[in-house]
Amino acid sequence: MTSMTFGRAINAGLRRAMEQDPRVLIMGEDVGKLGGVFRITDGLQKDFGPLRVVDTPLAESGIMGTAVGLAFRGYRPVVEIQFDGFIYPAFDQIVSQVAKMHYRTRGAVKLPLTIRVPFGGGIGSPEHHSESPEAYFTHTSGLRVISVSNPQDAYTMIQQAIASDDPVLYFEPKRRYHVKGEVDEAAAPQLPMGTARVLNEGSDVTLVAYGPLVPTARDAAVAASDEGVSVEVIDLRSLAPIDFATVEASVRKTGRLVITHEAAQSGGLGAEIAASITERCFDYLEHAPVRVTGFDIPYPASRLESHHLPDLDRILDGVDCAMDRPSSLAGVVSGSAAS
């Protein structure tokens, strides 16, 4: 086991994938000499050369579209989108080409792209640097979407994403890049990668989180236990597909579900999880599923982001609601408040 930061763990995972497969290429803006604006690809161009770690022109659609062509030729490109808000110029290539080529060609053409996206807020950036666009991609068939929350998963799952023959969006919670954790570099990643993890067991409420909010959710569970509420925290890890079996088993036990994410609420992943779990275990639910999310607003200026991002107290407020205790959401969720 080695102690390393989240960002370093991704770097180590990339390095290992490149060592193991000469077809793996890294492409993106500033990924070479600079090592990326977050230094995630630091040192890779020096060791693997400019033909395998490619500084590209400043054009997101161009990066994605040429990666499609490289995949046609048998390469396995790992594409870095510099910031979440910059992925939209590449949206067409991702949803119309990357996601559909395998289906379109009845499996003849594989597109094993990994699209790395530093995402989410909490770093005090200007606009377009703190977005949570994951739901656009979980809605797109043909893509796999994962979001990691700790250095070990970051290390393991980047390798799984690269090894997968399917295109994978790999959402990195940028505000956690400098968090340290233990990483077992000897652990061989095994497919499939779409398994959720029960972070800590509880009996009263199931709290589902992913990516940047997983540590906050865990903190909320500790705080709730001080108030006598036992919270089971699930780190989804895979957002498409979601490991509903794990969530379902937990909700059958607790009867209550809270989902938290930074992305806007309406049409978001929380809605999908609430609907799917209601379909699967309606008879076990003691309370309607509760969502604690970002608001339906463009990502706000940094001096407002603390209001937008779910924090420990807002998550606890959601837990209270699910427990039928007084909360700001009481009535809103049960439907007695005017909509």
Partner: protein, 380 residues
């Protein structure tokens, strides 16, 4: 002279745009079939003797017949849609017959003649338009990507594939086809940036057929489209796209540049789409018949026929042979289209992913149960 127009209706006639054929371009055979010497480009087609010219004519006659037959099948309700290539035979044949089999093609949806010449079976050519599959052929069997509907997206795929060739160290090349409308898309410009920056072995082949559905080329470009590429650092050639020899000469020169490590080339083949954009639109709503008549006089097949006749190579027997070849392909195409079995219900779920996917597996299982509820009903 330019027509005065209001800012709200910025539509000019293509004849008045900088992209009309009155600008200089490479032409080796005049519209009435006279071979005109060209000191720069003759060398690229020195090997094209009478027999090869006859083959090129047969190619063009066959793909014109494919087009006619497919259009008829669409009118008969057997194809959902068809994008005719009528008028663009020389651009497709002159370019595709310049390629090696190991080169890779990234087409638009209109390069059905190119696909046929790459070895795509007529049955597979019909699949997409019949609604049978998203792509008709295995790209690796013919080294040609599936038809591309998103305008210009394939130019980037070509640029990326060419980057892969450079890494592999081979002397293969890539050609990407797109229309004049696609040159307005960011992806085509980005493809030129990437190709120029990485000196990639790619040929950008713009079939300027003057119309993007109802929009004239003047709405896409105010100077010849070929003029754009030098701004990206890419040499460009403007050719008479209805002259199969000029297209071949230009494509061979571009491929030679790519293979010898000298990077991308942009070709603007000035041609004309004689029919509709697809079988879904009506060109009489947006263009006048005088324009069509003017282009009819530049027809690529009659031009080559005149050249062959002047060489004593267009006999009744040869004309009959070309007609027979075209008729055979058309008959094969019709039979393959009508005899194509529908895909199975389970095919709707097939190949979305390479590996199992729990969401989709669940939906497939549910739908399979639903369908099994109808088992035996067709026998009642």
């Amino acid at each position: 002279m330019r027509i005065q127009v209001s800012l709200h209706t910025p539509v000019r006639h293509p004849e008045n745009s900088g992209s009309s054929p009155i600008d200089p371009y490479v032409q080796l055979v005049s519209p009435d079939g006279v071979r005109t010497p060209d000191p720069l480009y003759d060398r690229w087609i020195e090997d094209i003797d009478g027999a090869r010219l006859q083959e090129l004519y047969i190619d063009m006659a066959v793909i014109r017949r494919i087009d006619t037959e497919a259009t008829a099948l669409q009118r008969q309700g057997e194809l959902g849609l068809w994008p005719p290539l009528l008028g663009q035979e020389a651009a497709q044949i002159g370019s595709v017959r310049s390629l090696r089999s190991s080169d890779f093609v990234f087409p638009s949806y209109r390069e059905n003649g190119v696909a046929y010449c790459r070895g795509v079976k007529v049955r597979d050519l019909m699949r997409v338009w019949r609604g049978n599959a998203g792509a008709g052929w295995d790209p690796y069997q013919v080294n040609m990507a599936p038809t591309q509907v998103i305008i210009g997206a394939q130019a980037l795929h070509a640029a990326g594939y060419a980057m892969g060739i450079t890494r592999d160290g081979t002397d293969d090349a890539v050609i990407s086809y797109f229309g004049d409308g696609a040159t307005s898309q960011g992806d085509v410009s980005e493809a030129m940036v990437f190709a120029a920056s990485f000196n990639s072995p790619v040929v950008f082949f713009c079939s300027n057929n003057q119309w993007a559905i109802s929009e004239p080329v003047a709405l896409q470009a105010q100077v010849p489209i070929a003029n754009r590429a030098p701004g990206f650092g890419i040499p460009s050639i403007r050719v008479d796209g209805n002259d199969v020899l000029a297209v071949m000469a230009a494509t061979r020169e571009a491929l030679d540049r790519a293979r010898s490590g000298n990077g991308p080339t942009f070709i603007e083949a000035v041609t004309y789409r004689m029919g509709p954009h697809t079988t879904a639109d009506d060109p009489t709503r947006y263009r006048d018949s005088a324009e069509l008549d003017q282009w009819r006089r530049k027809d690529p097949l009659s031009r080559l026929q005149a050249l062959l006749a002047s060489m004593g190579l267009f006999s009744d027997e040869f004309a009959a042979e070309a007609g027979r070849r075209a008729d055979d392909v058309a008959a094969e195409l019709r039979a393959a289209c009508l005899g194509m079995p529908d895909p199975l219900p389970a095919d709707v779920f097939a190949h979305v992913y390479s590996e199992p996917h729990s969401w989709l597996d669940r939906q497939q299982e549910q739908y399979s149960r639903y369908l099994s509820g109808f088992a035996g009903e067709e026998n009642r």
